[in-house]
């Protein structure tokens, strides 16, 4: 699962940093203890040197036992005692009725040919207290450090990534159809982002150029095709008026004429599509959709003898801002489709409200994804004689005016809804 960069970064820091810090504190604790131990050893040795020095200086006339400080006894120490190595022990204090931990060290020595063993004491309590205090202090510092690192990291990340998010916002608004090119700064003070912005800008420029060329190509190609089509059409008209035309020739000419007309139709629609794409319909006015629709339905009913059963619910004076001819094309294409793709004895329902235009008709089930029908030259397998551009045109017009259009098939009904904003 993908998460925001900042969160990811923090998560990594929060996962690994405490572990590292924990390991470090353990190491620190061990080193601290080792040093404390070493210090105690030195203390014991120093005390032994001092006490023994005093003992010899005063010819043995010093206290032989001072609790918690030293013991001097004649004879060698027990063989069980490891000499010269510090050992742990407890010393009982009656006053506080407590046994306190001490570190002791015993050494065998000789004076005037007599053996002695001397044991020096040093308290462990203070040292261990010190260790705990130092360790706690370190722990607090480490926690503070952890927080500081995370916070600083978040802050600096946010600052560092700022040009990135800025660029993202710009790119999101990029719209190839409306030719809105993002304005990406080339100077972000970060080399990588400068590079990224330059690369993206170049990429978008290339895409725009390709798109523009393609649009231009369609428009130019359609334009250039008009004249030959006109020539073919005019020659065909001269030809069908030739005297002594045989029946066979007439049928051939009929087919050619029909094909040529379909070609012209397609070409005209492609040109119209290209023009809408090239934003050559900038003018909009308030169009009374209700009256256009009524007129249109009237015309269609006149033209089709077997017009399907029609139910209409058209609100009066629904007005939409649009180009008049495009509004007419939009609705007539949809109405026409609902007639052409209907079944015999079919039905059409039409609803026009200020917010939407709904048209539904009975018909054969769809054998393609309805969304695909909005693509150019996409048509259901039942239809062979349509251009396959009607719905593409509808979609292009909807795109131009930011209408929402959807097509669905349910229980024998085809339903197209155009939602005006």
């Amino acid at each position: 699962m993908s998460k925001p960069l900042l969160q990811k970064n923090t998560r990594i820091l929060l996962t690994w940093l405490p572990m590292v810090l924990l390991a470090c504190s353990l190491l620190f604790y061990m080193v601290l203890r080792m040093h404390a131990h070493h210090m105690q050893e030195k203390q014991l040795l120093l005390k032994q040197t001092n006490v023994w020095g005093a003992f010899i200086e005063r010819s043995g006339n010093i206290e032989k036992h001072i609790k918690g400080e030293y013991d001097i006894a004649q004879g060698y120490a027990d063989a069980s005692i490891e000499l010269g190595e510090p050992r742990d022990t407890l010393v009982f204090y009656e006053g506080s009725k407590q046994a306190l931990p001490f570190e002791i060290q015993t050494t065998n020595l000789q004076w005037n040919g007599k053996p002695y063993h001397i044991t020096t004491y040093t308290s462990s309590t203070e040292v261990s207290h010190l260790i705990v205090k130092v360790f706690l202090t370190e722990a607090v510092i480490l926690v503070l450090l952890l927080i500081a690192i995370v916070v600083l990291n978040r802050k600096s990340s946010r600052l560092l990534w700022k040009p990135f998010f800025g660029a993202m916002k710009e790119i999101k608004e990029y719209d190839i159809i409306r030719n809105k090119t993002p304005d990406l700064p080339v100077q972000t003070e970060t080399t990588e982002f400068d590079e990224l912005n330059t690369v993206i800008t170049d990429l978008i420029d290339n895409v725009n150029t390709a798109y523009y060329n393609q649009k231009q190509f369609v428009e130019n190609a359609s334009h250039e095709m008009q004249t030959p089509l006109a020539i073919i059409r005019s020659k065909l008209e001269l030809l069908i008026n030739q005297p002594n035309l045989t029946e066979k020739a007439a049928f051939l000419l009929g087919d050619i004429t029909e094909a040529n007309d379909r070609l012209s139709q397609m070409n005209r629609t492609l040109l119209l599509l290209a023009k809408i794409e090239n934003s050559q319909f900038p003018d909009t006015e308030e169009i009374n959709m209700s009256s256009i629709l009524r007129q249109l339905l009237h015309n269609f009913q006149q033209h089709y003898e077997n017009f399907p059963e029609l139910t209409i619910n058209i609100e009066n004076d629904v007005s939409v801002k649009s180009d008049r001819s495009l509004a007419e094309i939009l609705m007539s294409n949809l109405v026409n489709n609902s007639i052409l793709h209907n079944k015999t004895e079919g039905k059409i329902n039409i609803v026009l409200q200020p917010s939407f235009f709904l048209i539904e008709n009975t018909g054969l089930p769809l054998d393609v994804n309805p969304e695909e029908l909005f693509e150019r030259f996409k048509k259901g397998s039942h239809q062979t004689k349509t251009t396959g551009l009607g719905l593409a045109l509808v979609k292009q017009i909807c795109l131009l005016y930011k209408y929402n259009v959807n097509y669905e098939y349910q229980n024998g009904w085809h339903r197209v809804k155009v939602i005006f904003k």
């Binding site: 005019s234 008026n241 009929g254 294409n333």
Partner: protein, 224 residues
């Protein structure tokens, strides 16, 4: 009637000339702007069929020239550019009509006849053929003394056939003429068939039989 065709595509120009010569027009053709200017300077035409894109100039300029010289020639623009702006510019500059390529010659013919009727034929708003009479203004039809009640489409269809009488008019041309831009995406021309059927029936009822003939799979012909 004198006609000038200004069209740089020679093949199309020839077609138009041939078609209108058959319609008993005196038809001349030129392929560029300078020749066209020379022609209109020297002669007067009833109608000029004018292409906008010419190799050495623009059809709009010719229109301007005509209006500046106060010449009354009728002008029908033919253009590959089906843009509203062009249409408006053309009509503003005094063109009488505008038709987009590719067009049907029968449509052009019908438009030219309408133009000539409008422009020169005061009082001749009656189209007459045999005993069939069409009043283009009041849109009344009569066969001899009998009035025939026709729908708007049937009237347009009959007028169209009459304007192109003795010629085969294709179903597509009829569809486009009546249906205009809405004939887009028309896979079948059933409605042309049904309109013709109704029209024939109504004509027959009033005694104008067999005016309209069906020509194989091509179209229809009104002959006298």
């Amino acid at each position: 009637m004198k006609l000038l065709v200004v069209e740089d595509e020679s093949s199309l120009r020839q077609s138009i000339q041939e078609y209108f010569t058959q319609e008993d027009f005196h038809c001349e053709g030129v392929g560029n702007y300078s020749e066209a200017i020379r022609k209109v300077e020297d002669f007067e035409y009833d109608c000029i069929i004018l292409d906008i894109n010419l190799p050495d100039g623009n059809g709009f300029r010719l229109l301007q020239y005509l209006r500046e010289c106060n010449k009354q020639d009728g002008v029908i623009i033919i253009s590959a550019r089906n843009s509203l702006d062009d249409k408006i510019t053309g009509l503003d500059l005094g063109a009488d009509d505008y038709i987009t390529k590719p067009f049907h010659l029968s449509e052009l013919n019908s438009r030219i006849k309408a133009l000539i009727r409008r422009k020169y034929g005061q009082g001749t708003n009656i189209l007459q053929s045999g005993n069939l009479q069409l009043d283009m203004l009041s849109r009344n039809v009569a066969c001899g003394q009998h009035k025939i009640a026709l729908t708007k489409n049937e009237f347009d269809l009959l007028a169209y056939l009459l304007n192109n009488k003795n010629r085969v008019v294709s179903r597509q041309a009829i569809a486009e003429h009546i249906y205009g831009d809405q004939s887009e995406n028309m896979p079948s021309f059933d409605f042309v068939y049904s309109q013709i059927k109704n029209l024939k029936r109504k004509l027959k009822e009033k005694g104008c039989d067999d005016l309209i003939q069906t020509v194989y799979g091509l179209g229809y012909k009104l002959s006298l």
